[in-house]
């Protein structure tokens, strides 16, 4: 049978009635709980321990108390505990001692207060104190355990100083940011006003250019010969192009500066698409292009109706432009991941993979349309993409040269906010 490393309960003669096993050590059983042992413990305690009577007289101290306060124990036994408190706080201390002895309990002293103690040489230091009542032969004594926390206080103060420095810096930086924000808002406001007046100024002369051109073309003031008609038609066409450009530049400028706001509402998608297709009809018919609505989605959607028409019009108009005579353009729909996906497809010239990334860039125009000319402004697709994205959707392209194109955009199927 091997010796067990720990004494078993019940086998040890030094075991006390409370059942605690004595620590493994060098003392004999008698020595472990003898007075000498406890005296040593008291003196070795790392905090100052003082026992005080109801009048405040110090009746027991340990070595740490002597060292901490700078008095010998003989001197301490002649003192009242109030003498260890800085003069300014003595009166309050006396009062608190009285209220403690009337209802003594084991607790910290002065919770939330910065406690200070005073040494023999008059110097003061920060302390943390815990109190406990001790009954000795029916006399109540108070045991105070005192910890010198001056180095901790020093560290705390340093930390607080650093925090205050950071806070001050942060406040200064915030003030700077706020000033900059105001500047930016002001700049935005000026830009908005500029855009609005620029739009107005540019459209005003176009009004008469287009108007008189149309009047001439109507030949009410007299007939035009074929060449004159052709010249007028060029003037009219380019005037309308200019107008479209102005509108789109205004649009994209608003979109990019985040100033475009969608005016969303609930409406029937099918009738919205119908209107756009009716508008494209003449363009398609002039090239003998078959225009078909193959969508099957009949429910309402929540979106900006005007902007959705713009998206559809841009895609359909491009499809017709880039499809040769006799070709087909059609629209499909499907539901995918809680979104309505609309595809505008054509049997047109297609787009090379190298160009597919570029076509969504501002002013980029792919080669020429089927008329051999560059039509449009190069802003239609960038605007279309932004409008789709503003609705929370995405747009993608599938195409190969000579194999037509398929532009698909998604419209998340949301209800109005609050629903």
């Amino acid at each position: 049978m091997t010796d067990s490393p720990h004494p078993k309960p019940g086998n040890n003669p030094a075991e006390q009635e409370n059942g605690s096993a004595p620590a493994k050590g060098v003392e004999s059983p008698n020595e472990i709980f003898g007075e000498k042992r406890f005296q040593q413990l008291l003196e070795a305690a790392p905090d100052a321990i003082l026992e005080v009577d109801v009048q405040g007289r110090i009746v027991l101290v340990n070595e740490t108390a002597e060292k901490m306060f700078g008095y010998s124990r003989t001197e301490l036994y002649a003192l009242n505990v109030d003498d260890l408190v800085p003069a300014a706080m003595r009166h309050g201390h006396k009062q608190r001692r009285a209220s403690y002895t009337s209802a003594p309990q084991m607790r910290p002293m002065g919770s939330g207060l910065d406690l200070m103690a005073q040494r023999k040489d008059g110097s003061q230091f920060a302390v943390e104190i815990s109190l406990s009542p001790n009954r000795v032969n029916d006399v109540v004594r108070v045991v105070a355990v005192v910890r010198d926390i001056s180095s901790r206080k020093l560290a705390e103060n340093k930390l607080r100083a650093v925090q205050e420095l950071f806070t001050a810096e942060l406040e200064a930086k915030n003030a700077l940011l706020e000033a900059r924000n105001r500047d930016v808002e002001q700049a935005n406001r000026l830009k908005s006003e500029f855009l609005a007046s620029m739009s107005h100024e540019l459209r005003t002369p176009l009004h008469t250019v287009i108007g008189f051109s149309e009047l001439l073309m109507e030949e009410v003031e007299g007939p035009l010969n074929p060449k004159q008609k052709r010249f007028m038609s060029h003037i009219l066409q380019d005037s309308r192009h200019l107008l479209q450009l102005i509108n789109e530049v205004l649009d994209i400028s608003k979109i990019e500066s985040g100033r475009l706001e969608l005016q969303a509402g609930t409406f029937e998608f099918a009738s919205c698409l119908q209107e756009v297709m009716a508008g494209i009809q003449q363009q398609a018919a002039s090239k003998n292009i078959r225009l078909e609505n193959k969508t099957v989605f009949l429910d309402p959607v929540y979106a900006d109706r005007l902007r959705l028409k713009e998206i559809l019009y841009n895609l359909l108009s491009n499809a017709v432009k880039f499809t040769p005579d006799g070709g087909s353009v059609w629209v499909e729909s499907q539901i995918l991941d809680h979104a309505l996906e609309i595809s505008v497809c054509d049997t047109g010239v297609g787009i090379a993979e190298a160009e597919q990334e570029n076509i969504f860039e501002k002013f980029y125009q792919v080669g020429s349309t089927t008329k051999g000319v560059r039509e449009g402004t190069g802003l239609g697709l960038p605007i279309t993409r932004k409008l789709v994205e503003l609705h929370g959707g995405t747009i993608r392209l599938t195409s190969r040269p000579g194999q037509g194109s398929r532009f698909t955009f998604s419209l998340p199927l949301l209800g109005p906010p609050g629903l």
């Binding site: 609005a196 739009s199 100024e201 459209r203 005003t204 176009l206 008469t208 108007g211 509108n247 706001e261």
Partner: protein
């Protein structure tokens, strides 16, 4: 013969509107600013007013307010013709009390339709 008053500060624009309207058989009067417009209205009440919003001196909104606040003129149809093209402009114009809204550059067809709608129901 219905009388239409054109309120517009640019001569070119006035001539354009006059040409289109006279083609349709209307009699046309012109005013170059708000005060001239008001004085013409007081001299002879028109059947329809086509007014630009952007005028020297008092703007279109201001003139409309006076028209609507003057009992003798209050019920006149006044159509705003304007190159302002910002979203919400149409609503702003209609809620200010204009009878209609035409944006410049105007499609001649649209202008004719709107005028005929108001004067030849």
């Amino acid at each position: 013969m219905a009388l239409i008053l054109i309120v517009e500060d640019r001569a070119n624009s006035r001539e354009l509107l006059r040409t289109v309207l006279e083609q349709q058989g209307y009699v046309v009067q012109e005013a170059g600013d708000g005060d001239e417009a008001l004085s013409r209205i007081r001299t002879q009440i028109p059947d329809l007013i086509l007014m630009d919003l952007h005028l020297p001196g008092r703007d279109g909104y201001d003139i409309l307010r006076e028209i609507r606040n003057t009992p003798a003129m209050a019920a006149l149809p006044v159509v705003a013709v304007t190159a302002n093209a910002m979203p919400g402009d149409r609503e702003k114009v209609l809620s200010a009390g204009f009878t209609g809204y035409i944006s410049k550059p105007v499609a001649l067809g649209q202008l004719r339709e709107e005028v005929n709608r108001l004067l030849r129901p």
